[in-house]
Symmetry: C2
Subunit: 354 residues, 2 copies
């Protein structure tokens, strides 16, 4: 704090809420980066991708991601069961590895627990993680358990990368932008759950709630896309519009998304009607992959995904040299349209949800 | 729950507090171990050592440890400054890597933060981690930051192991037991801090408080001990008596510790008098190494540590085939003596602390 500020008495030390998550990470990372006068070596690690990446030997890359879920902030035990919570805690981290085009191998779990937490509930949490780990051939090793006033689940996943993998910063102007699978399902499921649909009674509701509760990270798709020569990618955790902006910033390109081309989850369209497309564009936690590459490479990759009976790849837009860091949404005629409102009341349940 | 229990109405589902940390870890680990009907593969990972261990390629071992510190449970911001907290959060994890005889390489940090947390305080936290990371040639990469009602610091450290390293389970009857450095300094420092000595005014107090606030993990010692042929080891985080019992259980041996041989921190003896030895035997957070091996191997290892100007190695006892899992404390004549009280009032400050 400068003397002037002190004398005027107006200065206040900045708080986390003032600088935001990304501003904070930037300031903290600067302290431990060798080129910023920090004292620690950063080695071969890259910050700012879905996972950290390093090369232990000349012919091998490893990736690592670590993330935490806090009760009341990231989940509510009133709408998420313990088994689904276990699945989802692991799925989010595994998806970060899939986003690098890497194979997740090992998961390490640290639990912050209240002393009155039920052991059976925690066994359910582990069963949920085990369900997904088994599907994806990931080994789980219990890390630490610590006492905590709120439930906290911290998961670290380590994976392996055979080739260059997928990077957020590897997009080039002229590349096409594509997504795996369909979008908005998780947001639709959350809207149903928040609207009181706890036990869905029809197939569409079941599909949407399942998409929210048990997202399936696109591990095999990520591996195959990287193998097919795609170099740019990330996973969709915060919604297509928000995540595309991150890719645009990292690759220093603009992005144009053709709204009518966004693949909307079928159950979402049937249940939410006109509002479905908005959910597909802004809804989070789909954990599909967003990738960019030359048209011919994407076409080949799509054919290989189809041949392997994996998720469908849909072109939704293009990377441009104009409007760096910005995402434009256009209609079928190429006219810019306003983004759908991203507020949470957007996620209210459809009329007739039951 | 059995029908009988239900009818009698006496059953209560067990809580975390009922089964304890180790009981809980055992139950949860069983769910993800392949030999226990769990669904996930555990691969080459070993649970129950200071860090998880795996072999990515036939000639390389990697180790990983993950641990969390929760405000109010593991630290109080009233007695621990942010910069020291950063050092200590990293030191605890690095010590788990040192305990395997491995070289720590990369640290990943996830912070749970209240929105009103000061950014400058967090920068201090990172500076503290950076201080230690620089000393030990460890790279720090900022992981995730999440919102949380209490401050939470989750650290993951990945390291490399050249040879077989140190394991808790590798002790054999007849091995001698030894510790690096001196014991009790951290416990003494904590006693001073809790007694209100926030700014120590003499060298002994400074030494003790520094031992508590900025413990120095024995990384170089662990590497050299493993290189010298020692196979059994762990770090001292919970106190000599408690940690020796873990080593005894893992190695399926009994342990006899000769109380007069325990190397008591000199400043502790001067400040705490007769109570110093008790603190050295039960006090936690010294982060020295506890190792076991044949006498000749230990002697060689001690000579190499001395030649490298590293911490002194002191023999404090012996592994036995009797009393498996148990630790006996004996006096100079080999007579069993009762352990010093391990209660926390043991840690009240010495009279005259100021």
């Amino acid at each position: 704090m400068g003397a002037d500020e002190w004398i005027q008495g107006t200065a206040r030390a900045p708080r986390v809420a003032d600088v935001g998550e990304f501003g904070l990470i930037e300031r903290l990372a600067a302290l431990v980066q060798p080129d910023a006068g920090g004292r620690a070596r950063a080695g071969e690690i890259r910050i700012g991708d879905d996972a950290a990446l390093w090369q232990p030997t000349p012919d091998r890359w490893e990736v690592l991601t670590t993330d935490a879920l806090v009760e009341g902030v990231h989940f509510k035990l009133t709408t998420t069961g313990w088994r689904d919570l276990g699945w989802k805690a692991l799925a989010e981290n595994v998806s970060d590895i899939a986003a690098m085009g890497a194979q997740p191998r090992r998961a390490f779990v640290t639990l912050g627990l209240r002393p009155d937490t039920s052991v059976e509930d925690l066994e359910d949490l582990y069963r949920g993680m085990g369900d997904l780990a088994c599907d994806l051939d990931v080994s789980i090793v219990g890390g630490d358990t610590v006492s905590s006033p709120v439930i906290m689940i911290s998961v670290t996943v380590v994976g392996e990368l055979a080739g260059p993998g997928l990077r957020r910063a590897a997009g080039r102007p002229g590349d096409l932008l594509a997504v795996t699978g369909t979008l908005g399902g998780s947001g639709g499921g959350l809207a149903l759950l928040e609207g009181g649909v706890v036990a869905p009674t029809n197939d569409d509701d079941r599909t949407l709630v399942e998409r929210h509760r048990r997202p399936r990270p696109r591990v095999r798709e990520g591996l195959l896309l990287a193998e097919a020569g795609i170099r740019c990618g990330m996973d969709l955790s915060d919604g297509l519009l928000g995540d595309a902006a991150k890719l645009a910033a990292a690759s220093e390109v603009g992005i144009t998304i053709r709204e009518p081309d966004v693949p909307v989850e079928g159950a979402l369209s049937r249940r939410f009607g006109e509002r479905a497309r908005g959910l597909a564009i802004t809804g989070g936690e789909d954990y599909e992959l967003l990738v960019a590459g030359p048209g011919a490479t994407l076409e080949q990759a799509a054919a290989r995904l189809a041949a392997a009976d994996l998720a469908r790849l849909t072109v939704v837009g293009r990377l441009t040299s104009e409007g760096v860091g910005r995402v434009r949404l256009v209609d079928a005629d190429g006219q810019e349209v306003p983004p759908p409102p991203a507020s949470w009341d957007h996620f209210s349940p459809p009329s007739g949800a039951a």
